[in-house]
Amino acid sequence: MKIGIYPGCSLNGSARDYNESVFAIAKVFDIELVQIPDWNCCGATAAHNLNKELSLALPARILALAEQNGLDEVLVPCAACYSRLVVTQHELKVEPEIKNRIKKVIELDYRGTTKILNVIEWLDKYIIPGIEEKLVLPFKHKVACYYGCLLVRPNKVLNYDRSEDPQTMDEVMRKIGADPIYFPYKTECCGAGFSVSRTDIVSKLSGKIIEDAEHRGAEFMIVACPMCHSNLDMRRPDINQYFKTKFTLPILFVTQALGLAVGLSPKEVGLQRHFVPVNIDS
């Protein structure tokens, strides 16, 4: 079993832990993840904020390379990259004129046939069906599943789960033995791309999300996006300072929780790289 993967810049850098857990799980389930050769950055928020054309061209190059290399299905673990790629694919599909223009810009052929999978879809399709056999350490914890913005919006384009009270991640967590709590902040924004330029906003928004999850008794918050993770985990000192408290809720990538449940070690899933210490008592 071989499928493509677009790690994106974060998984290559600040979210190495996420990357490690994705690859570790894939290995457990005998899936070979093939990186799109010579991939580039998707442009993230910056590109569509400043230059729409650029924000389509960068993802289009990635998708074109996937096509060129025969990768029909590509896993995009980063929710932000996922959103950029799907939105681009959609835009180029409905606007043939833009598509032709972009093809000239990237100097590559582009058909738009790649099937893009977000991490939950990937888990659902390739991991969960075989999970029962491999489940050695059920993740018996109360968890708050945090989807963030980019996994579910804009719903009409992504066409994934529902944008209010989504359930897919909760389902995955249930399958590995966790107890997802009722969590109304599931899809509230964490501050996303403001992690450097407006730390105050990030602190406030991320802080409210953590506060609500802690208040409702969550032991872990589960995320599927490196941006969310860095805001909720790396920015924790700022958050605590802003709220003048000490939130200790650890933030796990969904793949880390799943990895632990199938018996991978904390190190194999990159827990040592977190800023907020993770104590798993098993």
Binding site: C9, S10, N12, G13, S14, A15, R16, D38, W39, N40, C41, G43, A44, T45, A46, A47, H48, N49, L50, N51, K52, E53, L54, S55, A57, L58, R61, K104, V105, I106, E107, C149, L150, V152, R153, P154, N155, K156, S163, E164, T187, E188, C189, G191, A192, G193, F194, V196, S197, R198, T199, I201, L205, M234, P237, Q272, R273, H274, F275
Partner: protein, 189 residues
């Protein structure tokens, strides 16, 4: 069979938005649901529905106020507004457009300069390497924002956790990437 429409000459911002991103501001009936759900509405000098109303007036002074506002830079593109707007008005796309317009017309709000600086730094790093070079980004951003002290404690922690590279990863297609930047920068807003 059609009647001649009574189109008046329009050169408003609302008209530009209609033409460029196909967002019809007149469809907004000012329910305010976007502002009610926007995570940064309280930080904004004009919440999203207020921006919509100003646009509807097609008044030049209002248009300028919008382009000079902080709001357009505070919008995080979280898409909450779009997902709940009863009229499905694509405010996030409109905000993208307004930001680009604001830069082009040199109207960027001084208080938003950090945000613009960050975006520019971000694009700058990928322009030359093809991928994000986080250390390079931080250095470039500090140079632009003159915000030397911010995050001084974060970097060492990141380094110790293997989350920050010292050397940029250059992709083979960098010439292609700069080509993309060059070609797309010409596109008018």
């Amino acid at each position: 069979m059609s009647h001649s429409s009574h189109q008046i000459e329009r050169n408003s911002l609302a008209f530009a938005i209609e033409k460029n991103v196909d967002v019809h501001t007149q469809k907004c009936y000012q329910c305010g649901k976007c502002s009610a759900g926007c995570p940064v509405a309280t930080e904004m000098d004009m919440p999203p529905s207020y921006v919509m109303r100003l646009l509807q007036t097609e008044n030049q002074a209002h248009d300028e106020n919008i382009l000079q506002s902080q709001s357009i830079w505070l919008c995080i593109s979280c898409e909450m507004c779009l997902s709940r707007c009863p009229m499905e008005i694509d405010i996030p796309s409109m905000m993208d457009f307004l930001r680009q317009r604001s830069i082009k017309q040199k109207m960027v709000n001084p208080k938003a300069k950090n945000i613009v600086a960050f975006h520019k730094s971000f694009l700058n790093t990928i322009k030359y390497t093809g991928r994000l070079y986080e250390l390079g980004l931080i250095i470039d951003y500090k140079r632009r924002s003159l915000n030397m002290l911010q995050d001084i404690t974060l970097a060492p922690k990141m380094i110790s956790r293997g989350k920050l590279h010292f050397i940029p990863e250059m992709i083979k297609g960098t010439p292609q990437i700069s080509g993309i930047f060059k070609k797309t920068s010409k596109k008018e807003v």
